[in-house]
């Protein structure tokens, strides 16, 4: 399923109107059989195709060498394997880890602290960041409007060959909403098309006991923000409080150290882990979680419930095997 070149049918939820004859995205029936999208920017087949072209085009960067896909590789579920990437135009390391991109349509906050409220707004962040694509938006609009191809392509989507910031952002957001990952072995198991290995089934029980509080099915994220106790002190106030997590967005002290819950889907492709990529592999992640966090006063209450001393290596291994059943190779091979 997925976007095997052909778009499927998008059945929209009530609040999101959509022209019924429009391109759709393929995904299985279930609790996620509709893609939310703003009624002011319904996806069209040509819009999605143009958004995809833009996503992979380094013309959007200051030096013409960096595209969105430079740090969001489809083969890595749209991450780049780096903790803090230096692949932007400046070569300087970013302050946070390039997040995976899939099932974005269901989020109401983007970036690790959720500061960006919608995909149409989020687009501009990496474009203008001096260590990412570093472009001047006015100059970019001039360049796109002079381009031999883009004005015609935008006209096919928007009915005018004048390219402006709004049409650029909305086009790219249309594409990003098509990045759907619901074809993992887990999904096939849920659909009755596949039997999970015995060890994975045991791992599923471990997941439900220990992980599902913040990473509930079927998204394997609660779309929320939590302090998972990886930091104990918050003293670095530089970079507009980047190191304070969601606090810099809400100004509410309860949000100090809280970051967006990433989905557990596609973990096999998205190492290293955490908002700053500090954990190189799942072993490091498990070592962090499977210990007592009660000494960390900022830790989320979900972390403190019960004993987090795992009973043994066998359970960790089973959990790992289960989590790898969430890898969606159909998505990473053909997003």
């Amino acid at each position: 399923m997925r976007l095997t070149g052909v778009f499927l049918l998008l059945i929209l939820a009530g609040a999101c109107s959509h022209r019924p004859d429009n391109p759709l995205f393929v995904f299985p029936a279930g609790p996620y059989d509709s893609v939310p999208q703003p009624d002011y920017n319904p996806a069209t087949e040509k819009g999605v195709a143009l958004g995809k072209k833009l996503f992979f085009d380094p013309i959007l960067s200051a030096d013409g060498k960096v595209s969105c896909a430079t740090c969001h590789l489809p083969s890595l579920a749209f991450t780049d394997g780096q903790a803090l990437t230096r692949r932007g135009v400046s070569g300087e390391p970013l302050l946070r880890h390039a997040p995976a991109l899939f099932n974005l349509a269901w989020y109401d906050g983007f970036f690790w602290d959720g500061g960006s409220k919608n995909l149409e707004s989020q687009v501009f962040g990496p474009l203008i960041h001096p260590d990412e694509m570093g472009v001047d938006l006015k100059q970019l609009m001039e360049k796109l409007n002079r381009h031999p191809e883009y004005p015609t392509l935008f006209a096919e989507v928007w009915g005018t060959d004048t390219i402006n910031s709004q049409r650029l952002a909305r086009t790219m957001a249309q594409y990003e909403r098509t990045l759907l990952s619901f074809s993992s072995p887990y999904d096939k198991w849920k659909a009755g098309e596949y039997e999970l290995p015995e060890q994975a089934l045991r791992g599923y029980d471990v997941y439900r006991s220990h992980c599902s509080g913040c990473h509930p099915e079927p998204w394997f994220t609660d779309f929320g923000y939590h302090n998972n106790a990886i930091d104990t002190a918050f003293t670095n106030t530089t970079h507009e409080l980047t190191y304070f997590g969601r606090y810099r967005i809400t100004n509410d002290s309860v949000d100090i150290g809280r970051y967006k819950t990433p989905s557990l889907r596609n973990l096999g492709f998205t190492a290293p882990y955490m908002h700053d990529g500090r954990f190189a592999d799942m072993d490091a992640v498990f070592k962090h979680y499977f210990r007592d966090h009660t000494a960390n006063t900022g830790a989320d209450s979900l972390l403190k419930q019960g004993s987090y001393a795992m009973t043994g290596e066998a359970e960790r291994e089973a959990l790992y095997v289960f989590l790898m059943q969430l890898n969606d190779t159909a998505f990473t091979r053909n997003p």
Binding site: N118, E120, G125, H129, S165, Q166, A169, E240, R248, N251
Partner: protein
């Protein structure tokens, strides 16, 4: 700038006062004559001024009422949702009404015109910043509102309503150091209402000049004293400080004069 008397007196205005007190345009307006037709033009001159209402000079040292010595490098802000309020309290509101006022080293954009339907008006109203409806997404393109203006935050979605920077004498370092006020967020969207000296009748083809002054130094002291040394940089937050500064700029606009041309 132009020095013109605060009072504007013209015949139609007097007639307007005499002929229609209140309520003449409410409840159907079927008296006689019906709704006036046509449009008037209002030319705006919105000038950043100092405490003496003289044009503000970028780079010049001014002393604030709280005793700080400050300079301005630039001032940029949105004037939005311009309304003209009629005698009965109803109003005409401009569509897609977003204009970027700029006083910078390279650009001085403080003038614009608005086409207003004929009628009798008593005051002028506008927002400073961007209303909540459009502030929730920075992909808006309306009037001059556009992310390319460099007046938005990408990391915390929203427009920067009022952006100004400069230097102040820092008694700790005994040198001039930077201050930066980048103010926005929904709570700080402010509406300014400026009453005309008397009701004005806008007739078809008539032209008016609205000279609005923005008292730039007030952002530091009126009504809220700001502590530049403690908080030289306001950017989105801290919320308590930005709220004080926003209250200050909301009260910094005055109608110097409104005159028929």
């Amino acid at each position: 700038m132009k020095k013109i008397s605060l009072l504007l007196l013209f015949v139609s205005g007097i007639l307007a006062l005499q002929s229609c007190k209140k309520d003449d345009e409410t409840g159907g307006g079927d008296n006689n004559g019906g709704t006036p037709s046509g449009n008037a033009t209002v030319m705006f001159e919105v000038q950043s001024v100092d405490e003496n209402e003289e044009g503000l000079d970028l780079g010049k040292v001014y002393v604030t009422p709280t005793g700080d010595s400050v300079t301005f490098d630039y001032i940029r802000y949105w004037i939005s949702n311009i309304e003209f309020v009629k005698e009965d309290g109803s109003s005409w509101k401009e569509e897609k009404s977003y204009r970027l006022m700029e006083k910078t080293q390279s650009k001085n954009r403080e003038e614009f015109s608005v086409t207003v339907p004929a009628g009798k008006y008593k005051s002028l109203r506008f927002g400073i910043g961007v209303d909540q409806a459009r502030n929730s997404s920075i992909d808006s393109v309306a009037g001059e509102l556009d992310v390319t203006a460099g007046m938005s935050w990408t990391w915390n979605t929203g427009y920067i309503f009022m952006k100004n920077e400069g230097t102040f004498y820092n008694s700790d370092s005994m040198a001039y150091t930077d201050w930066k006020y980048h103010l926005g967020t929904d709570a700080n969207y402010k509406t300014v209402t400026l009453d005309f000296p008397m009701t004005q009748e806008f007739t078809d083809g008539s032209k008016f000049m609205a000279h609005v002054v923005y008292m730039a130094l007030n952002i530091f002291s009126k009504p809220n004293d700001m502590d530049l040394k403690a908080n030289p940089v306001l950017m989105v937050g801290p919320a308590d400080q930005t709220a004080k500064a926003a209250d200050n700029y909301a009260e910094a606009f005055e109608l110097h004069h409104f005159k028929k041309q």
